[in-house]
């Protein structure tokens, strides 16, 4: 064990990746939309739920999905979109800011209108995303 510690100290450190930013460059707003659709369904069904257990579960899953929406949007925002995209679409930062805010809003809301707002903003992002793809 001590020998391994010594080896560890002598050797130069390299970086090994364990995250999503892969050379394959696979990005798609569809990931965020699927999670947002799931939130929307929960919001639509929430008023029909009567048992506490079901309501609790719905809220739990909704919050989990909202966090995933934020995650997928952040990956797009920080990894996919580049400064040249911002030049073409100056509202990009504002759009992502509003979309991630909307993802936060659905956590504390049971109003389907909030779910729809989130979906609309993701669609706006998807539209910009599509334009950046066709521009290549």
């Amino acid at each position: 064990m001590k020998l391994i510690n010594l080896i560890g100290k002598i050797l130069p450190t390299q970086i090994a990746y364990a995250h999503c930013d892969l050379p394959c460059g696979v990005y798609d707003p569809a990931q965020a939309r699927i999670e947002a659709e799931s939130i929307m369904k929960i919001l639509e069904k929430y008023s029909d739920l009567h048992e506490e257990e079901q309501k609790w579960r719905a809220v739990f899953v909704k919050e989990e999905r909202a966090e995933l929406v934020k995650h997928h949007l952040w990956v797009l925002w920080t990894d996919y979109f580049k400064p040249e995209h911002l030049e073409k679409f100056p509202n990009l930062h504002d759009l992502f800011w509003r979309a991630t805010k909307a993802a936060g809003q659905v956590k504390k809301s049971v109003d389907p209108a909030d779910g729809q707002k989130l979906l609309d903003l993701i669609d706006e992002i998807a539209d910009v995303f599509k334009k950046t793809k066709t521009a290549k």
Partner: protein, 109 residues
């Protein structure tokens, strides 16, 4: 030691050492391996043994080094996954890898 002198020494150690040291960047292997954790990789481990399911390995994929777990083996092709499925794009996206992509086994964390 100046950085100019350090570089050839580092390259020398990297080329010859059976053990490589990596710093993890990302959360896809959590909770097994955390972001910024240091791991040691044995380059010669798979000279004598075949990679097995559940081995945590370092692999070179398109010039980038990844730390992942082998979760399936199919005719000398290896399917890699992160332990944190929510935050890992892995062989589900980049496909199975072959043995020549494997750098070594994580032996110490």
């Amino acid at each position: 030691m100046s950085s100019k002198k350090q570089k050839p020494l580092n390259n020398f150690l990297l080329n010859l050492s059976p053990i490589l040291k990596f710093k993890i960047a990302g959360h896809s292997m959590s909770p097994t391996l955390d972001d910024r954790q240091i791991v040691l990789v044995n380059r010669f481990y798979f000279f004598f043994k075949k990679p097995q399911v559940n081995d945590i390995i370092a692999a070179n994929i398109n010039g980038k080094i990844f730390i992942k777990r082998i979760t399936k083996i199919k005719i000398n092709n290896y399917f890699l996954s992160g332990d944190n499925k929510k935050d890992s794009i892995d062989s589900r996206k980049f496909g199975m890898i072959s043995k020549r992509n494997i750098i070594g086994k994580v032996i110490f964390k």
